[in-house]
């Protein structure tokens, strides 16, 4: 469909690259003796978790590290020319013209105040390419090549006025402006919905076919496996393993690679299907929930329409949907923070929320609130910034009237339950890691002895290995405390191992529901099929079965 002019033949070669940072007199080595090479027409993936040094490596290749960074290498060359002694001026000639750079999220990676056209245009003016007219022409061409239909109209739009897929394409067009032989893509699909990820993946493949050498930086082995010819795994600044993608995935040599692979949620088996006991009553029941907002032109747009769901004791109901599917609004209605326009919610067999004006007030809900706990994607913002772990737990325990004398022992027990050391009790969550924060959030949720926990994207902000740990913890806790989860996520892989029942939402409606195993193995709705396919893991490293 899209054609790219073929890139010139060349090579990028790195030998023993080390990057050190000096901060306040302390030197910290971010990258230790990294060596690899990239030739045209191939995709190399640099994989690792946060702090692995992959991003620093990418910036070192463009000379974009701060002044406090010390870069050393035996060789850092492009087409045989060393970049090591480059001045800022020389670097500027390389950036954009020889090596293009694609960042994660076009919403912030393109100047949010300027149109995408102006941004791409600037990539040309920076290298004094062409005249004003030829430049405009070229920008249009680039946008079209990157797969943006009606580019002529969209050239004047800003990134935030484009859909997620289109704006990522615009960002790629920006990197391709000077037709650089090499591209560095730093997490090019991370913030995107699965269906869009697939499209971008295709685009990158086309670029490879056109002869561009692409270095992909990613935390996601699954994504990389479909694309890369070779994979380099990094851990704490060291390269732990390098090899052809298929080899590395099938026979990982290094223990860290294995750990990483095991942690991939998509690699886990679905939870065995246990049918719902027909005699049990649902804990939480929602019927025909709808919610709409007024639009500019006066019409109403439905965010959520006719959603019904039932959550049974000891089970996990996962709600899956892409951004804008209405899953967050559903969650807010279930939490009682948003009144539904139609329908009703019952909790513990009693009315919880009603669309019509009835006697159900916040005050009447309050006594039952501890039975419905919640954990969020960003646990930090759900903690009062002044509070330590102990105050947070203390506050939660006070809700269910635990006597003051018992609170400390209960807090310690809770920390133990979420497998945190008791030494964290005096700390402020700000100084903890992402995984630890989410565990604190879980501990707080457990403190009020809930029957149901609403998990709103609880692992989306975490590294893969941490994700696995948190999911494991949630699973264990469910068994031990007979909890019910309402699990909201955009990622099918995440719920694979924890969901009993599944609801798939699209544009405010439920398009498919059933047992998790059924849906994962036999998706019926085309959108669900697409989602399941996007979540497909590794097994097929070439990933060519996408249409």
């Amino acid at each position: 469909m899209n054609t790219f002019s073929s890139a010139p033949q060349s090579g990028l070669s790195v030998k023993n690259l080390s990057v050190k940072f000096a901060t306040g007199g302390v030197t910290h080595t971010a990258v230790h003796s990294l060596s690899f090479s990239l030739t045209s027409g191939e995709i190399v993936a640099l994989v690792g978790e946060s702090g692995s040094g992959k991003t620093v490596t990418a910036r070192a290749l463009l000379g974009l590290l701060g002044s406090n960074a010390q870069t050393s290498a035996d060789q850092l060359s492009l087409n045989g020319q060393s970049l090591l002694a480059n001045t800022e001026q020389q670097w500027r000639k390389i950036r954009g013209a020889e090596i293009g750079f694609i960042l994660q999220d076009a919403l912030v990676a393109l100047d949010p105040l300027r149109s995408v056209g102006a941004e791409i245009n600037e990539a040309l003016t920076a290298h004094k390419w062409g005249t004003k007219n030829t430049r405009n022409e070229h920008v249009l061409q680039l946008l079209t090549q990157a797969g943006i239909p009606l580019a002529k109209e969209r050239i004047h739009l800003r990134a935030d006025q484009l859909s997620g897929g289109l704006r990522q394409r615009a960002l790629i067009a920006n990197a391709l402006a000077m037709n650089p032989p090499f591209l560095i893509a730093d997490e090019p699909t991370t913030a995107l919905d699965p269906s869009v990820q697939v499209q971008i993946l295709e685009l990158l493949k086309q670029l490879r076919t056109a002869g561009h050498g692409i270095l992909i930086i990613s935390h996601d082995l699954g994504f990389v496996s479909r694309l890369a010819d070779r994979v380099i795994v990094m851990h704490h600044g060291h390269m732990v393993e390098e090899g052809r993608t298929a080899d590395l995935l099938c026979a990982p040599q290094h223990s860290y690679t294995r750990r990483l692979l095991d942690a991939e949620p998509g690699r886990r088996p679905p939870r065995p299907a246990v049918p719902i006991n027909p005699t049990t009553l649902p804990l939480l029941e929602a019927h025909n929930l709808s919610f709409s907002v007024k639009q500019k032109n006066g019409t109403r747009k439905y965010i959520v329409q006719d959603i019904s769901l039932s959550l049974f004791p000891g089970r996990t109901l996962a709600v899956i949907g892409e951004s804008g599917s209405g899953k967050t609004s559903t969650a807010r209605m279930i939490m009682g923070f948003q009144k539904p326009e139609t329908g009703f919610i019952d909790f513990l067999g009693e009315p919880w929320s009603r669309s019509e004006k009835t006697g159900i007030t916040e005050a009447s809900r309050r006594s039952r609130r501890p039975r419905l706990a919640a954990i969020y994607q960003d646990p930090l913002s759900s903690f009062d910034p002044r509070w330590t772990v102990q105050t947070i737990l203390d506050d939660a325990l006070s809700v269910i009237h635990v006597p003051k004398t018992e609170r400390l022992s209960r807090s310690l027990a809770l920390l133990d339950l979420v497998r945190l050391p008791s030494t964290l009790l005096g700390k402020n969550p700000l100084h903890l890691s992402g995984g630890q924060r989410q565990r604190i959030a879980i501990a707080r949720a457990l403190a009020v002895e809930p029957s149901v926990i609403l998990c709103d994207e609880p692992v989306s902000a975490l590294d893969v290995s941490v994700q696995a740990q948190i999911l494991d913890l949630l699973g264990t806790l469910q068994k031990r405390l007979h909890l019910s989860y309402l699990f909201i996520s955009h990622d099918l892989n995440v719920v694979r191992n924890i969901a009993d029942d599944l609801i798939v939402m699209q544009a405010g409606r439920i398009i498919e529901r059933g047992s998790a195993q059924d849906i994962l193995l036999h998706p019926r709705h085309p959108f669900t099929q697409q989602l399941v396919a996007a979540a497909q893991f590794i097994g097929d490293a070439t990933g060519e079965h996408f249409s």
Binding site: F337, D395, A396
Partner: protein, 288 residues
């Protein structure tokens, strides 16, 4: 997202490499200055043996010398002694008017931020109105009402500064109101009263403290500019703004009468700003 938008903390380019040291020096100097200022306000005799009100016409306009390190004024009074004695009224005015300003600001910002959409709109209008009404007029009218002196000055500056702080606090309260932890507290089953006392008020107190510390210097400047216009404490009070205003006729002959009170005001402003920044940084490292 496991890969964050920004670089890990340790990798951010840090131009402030040498700064912690200099910041430290600045903070130390600020604290030292404020200590002297407070000492001067509480026990001026500890720092000078002179009489701030005793005139000596024969010694008028003496340039800085051994006996009078900062010179003497138009009535032959020792400038150093007058400055030391002026610290009290400056601090009283600065702290008094910032407290008043914050009280007024709070009484607008709290109902505005927590009192529903109608109150929010009303408070916005009130800010608009107050912003367009010049402080000087207010100060002049107040001095006309109460005759000039420290009290009307505090009231004028306090009320004049209130809308600025009000709008700032208003914004911050709105942020707090919409913060995730408020919803988290609700979902735990806390009552609105508990949320107010446990979260809203304590969290609102921090910006208040920072605004207060940063504001003292600013209110001292405002107050001194009103004293400069002749609306300050009556003579013979040693007030920096008045001293400066009285000296400006003689700047060609005796620059020190105008210069040193100005230096005192500027140093106070810098010291309180440094203090405010310090508090802000401290709170922010424990906030986000």
């Amino acid at each position: 997202m496991s890969a964050t938008n920004s670089l890990p903390l340790s990798l951010k380019p840090s131009p402030r490499l040498w700064l912690p040291g200099s910041q430290h020096i600045g903070l130390t100097l600020a604290f030292l200055y404020l200590t002297i200022l407070i000492l001067a306000a509480i026990a001026p005799h500890f720092l000078t043996h002179g009489n701030p009100y005793g005139i000596a016409p024969r010694e008028a306009f003496t340039a800085p010398c051994w006996q009078h390190p900062l010179g003497t004024d138009q009535s032959g009074r020792d400038m150093w002694t007058r400055l030391i004695f002026g610290a009290r009224s400056s601090l009283v005015i600065g702290i008094g008017s910032i407290l008043l300003a914050l009280c007024v600001a709070l009484s607008l910002a709290i109902p505005g931020a927590f009192g529903g959409p109608f109150a929010e709109q009303c408070v916005k209008w009130v800010f608009e109105i107050l912003f367009s009404f010049p402080t000087v007029v207010l100060a002049l009218l107040l001095t006309a009402l109460f005759s000039s002196g420290t009290f009307p000055l505090i009231v004028a500056v306090g009320i004049g500064a209130a809308p600025g702080y009000g709008r700032m606090l208003f914004g911050q309260f709105l942020t707090i109101r919409h913060a995730g932890f408020i919803e988290a507290a609700r979902s735990l089953g806390h009552s609105p009263a508990q949320i107010l006392t446990r979260h809203l008020i304590p969290n609102a107190f921090r910006p208040l403290l920072i605004a207060g510390a940063m504001g003292i210097g600013q209110t001292i400047i405002w107050a001194s500019s009103l004293s400069f216009l002749g609306l300050g404490a009556p003579p013979p009070a040693a007030e920096w703004g008045t001293m400066l205003a009285m000296g400006r006729d003689y700047i060609a002959e005796a620059w020190w009468i105008t210069f040193f009170p100005g230096v005192a005001i500027v140093l106070t402003m810098l010291a309180t700003t440094t203090l405010g920044r310090f508090l802000k940084n401290r709170f922010e490292t424990t906030t986000s």
